[in-house]
Symmetry: C2
């Protein structure tokens, strides 16, 4: 059966939590991918932000790469070819079949990820990313380029980690037009609110989230609603077809939600949630991110910790809600693996 196997050369741009989780997931699924999908793979290029780059046409050893990342080592020590001048020339020279773009998100411009993805598509690779920037800043251009190249630009992990939202509408809900979107899309603020319901101060709750690795040193991206807004922008851009940037969304974070407000809600049997809402009206959309009190009649009430939800109203079904419980870097990595398998099977 060996001659039915397809071999895929993979390039990784960014090798942080998500890139490493993907490498581990690919490794653990190696046998299953061979058995069930008739594919084998090798990682032929890795570009990191601060720890150099590696190219090896014969495949970089995954264990070596993970060990190097763990010890903040220099990836150029793993390189069998001379290291290219920069990430774009790495993409151009590595001859990979698939690019995984997992560099840090840039809310304002989507760069340099947009350039990375454009270059990869121009070189005939599928471009798969967990980075929200390119989706809100260049979805239509990159998708048109991908179509022209007969390749895929997929980004399942950008919203709700590995939960299949974009694939759902792409492959399972044909002829469905999305009218409204509602969701709790930022896990960190939801965890902060859950901790505050348990009596912790806002600062302590933020510190807790930093400790468990779900909040940045500067928590502004989460607590001021930027992450929720960029995810809502991505959903609107792709599912409603209306290009939308996070700055176009009315946005209020959770800094004004005091322990007093939480106690008042609790007394009414309710909870505060950072809610994303978008309603299509003709060719425009009204969208906002803001704290709302929700009661136990809403599935939003049940979301504690890092659990998230997206609800969709379409012209073909009643409201459809998707809840993802307990995401992790592994589930984000799964979203990228699903993108890979869907891209190569044309789904």
């Amino acid at each position: 059966l060996e001659f039915f196997m397809e071999h895929y050369k993979l390039a990784f741009i960014g090798f942080g939590n998500v890139g490493q989780a993907l490498a581990r997931l690919l490794q653990s699924k190696e046998y299953e991918l061979k058995e069930k999908y008739n594919i084998t793979f090798s990682i032929t290029a890795i570009a990191t932000g601060n720890h150099g780059q590696a190219i090896d046409p014969n495949g970089i050893d995954v264990v070596d790469a993970l060990r190097t990342a763990k010890h903040d080592g220099d990836f150029s020590s793993l390189s069998r070819s001379p290291a290219p001048a920069n990430t774009l020339s790495l993409i151009r020279t590595c001859k990979a079949d698939v690019l995984f773009e997992n560099s840090p998100v840039n809310y304002k411009t989507g760069q340099p990820a947009v350039k990375h993805i454009r270059t990869a598509l121009e070189c005939g690779m599928h471009a798969l990313t967990a980075n929200k920037g390119p989706v809100v800043h260049a979805y239509h251009q990159l998708t048109a380029l991908a179509d022209k190249q007969r390749k895929k630009f997929y980004f399942e992990s950008t919203v709700m980690d590995g939960a299949p939202i974009f694939a759902l509408f792409r492959s399972a809900l044909p002829a469905a037009n999305v009218h409204t979107i509602k969701g709790v899309l930022n896990s960190t603020t939801n965890m902060i609110l859950t901790q505050m319901e348990g009596g912790e101060s806002f600062d302590d709750a933020v510190a807790y989230c930093q400790k468990i690795g779900i909040a940045e040193t500067d928590p502004s991206g989460d607590v001021d609603g930027w992450d929720a807004a960029i995810k809502l922008s991505a959903l609107i851009t792709v599912l409603m077809g209306i290009p939308t940037k996070p700055t176009q969304i009315q946005r209020e974070g959770i800094r004004d939600i005091t322990l007093d407000k939480i106690a008042t809600a609790k007394a009414k049997g309710m909870r505060w949630k950072l809610v994303c809402t978008a309603r299509r009206e003709g060719m425009s959309v009204h969208a906002r991110v803001a704290p709302e009190m929700v009661g136990p009649e809403s599935p939003l009430y049940t979301l504690t910790g890092t659990t998230s939800i997206a609800q969709f109203e379409t012209n073909v079904l009643g409201m459809l809600s998707i809840i993802e419980s307990d995401p992790s870097p592994q589930t984000t990595a799964y979203g990228l693996l699903a993108d890979l398998l869907n891209a190569i099977s044309g789904k």
Copy 2:
């Protein structure tokens, strides 16, 4: 552009609520199907249980068919060809491209729907159904036959109406193995329990469901858990790959849920739900349908009326929950339309 159009001849077995809703949906989507999917269609055969059959190679007028159904008329009056002796010969002679099998469910054997679908696949048609019988009684055989014929046997509407459950796992969640399934899958019992929470007796709640058209004259299929059990069987059979029949599922309906029990639950801030559960253990599965008390921390608590939920634990994500609010014959019809579009696009 006319020469890129693909024309599909459709045969309907069963023309009750679901068949009629599908005919109306197809009619209302005619322009969109042409514009966005480059397909046109005609209904070339309709077989009913008690009102005769019609065949017309040039297409039966949809308005005529709906009017005939509304007035309990005889479909043979719409036939341009001599009516075949029975449904199987209608399938063999109608030369359709797609069969929609929507005859009444037979919990025990799946017949005659299994025969209808087998015959359609043998004749080179896609076979699409909202009938649960063939799924639990012949999924593996019919799918193998469909694969051999390079056609599709799809049945999205059998569980949670039009909500995409089977397509989700088929097209959006590659390499995911389902470990556990939990759900509230029967709308009628959920509506009965909701009405009883409002103070109605069991009998009045059943009568209400009969009045709004969601319960049969003999409500046993719903209240004794048969419908929930066959839906759970379908999920286990397809998503876990373990052939399972409703009689193999430990089953308890809602007849023992008294107003007293409901009041006791309410006093605790809880609700009774008819819960389906399946847990895979190796190559076997433990499955049951039984009433359970659930609290506001569970999304099951929020399901009132006809809203339903399915929750899946897999090896690749945390728990994934799908909620469908307010289903109707239109949403069931949408599931069949989605099956059609997915079948012809190979998804």
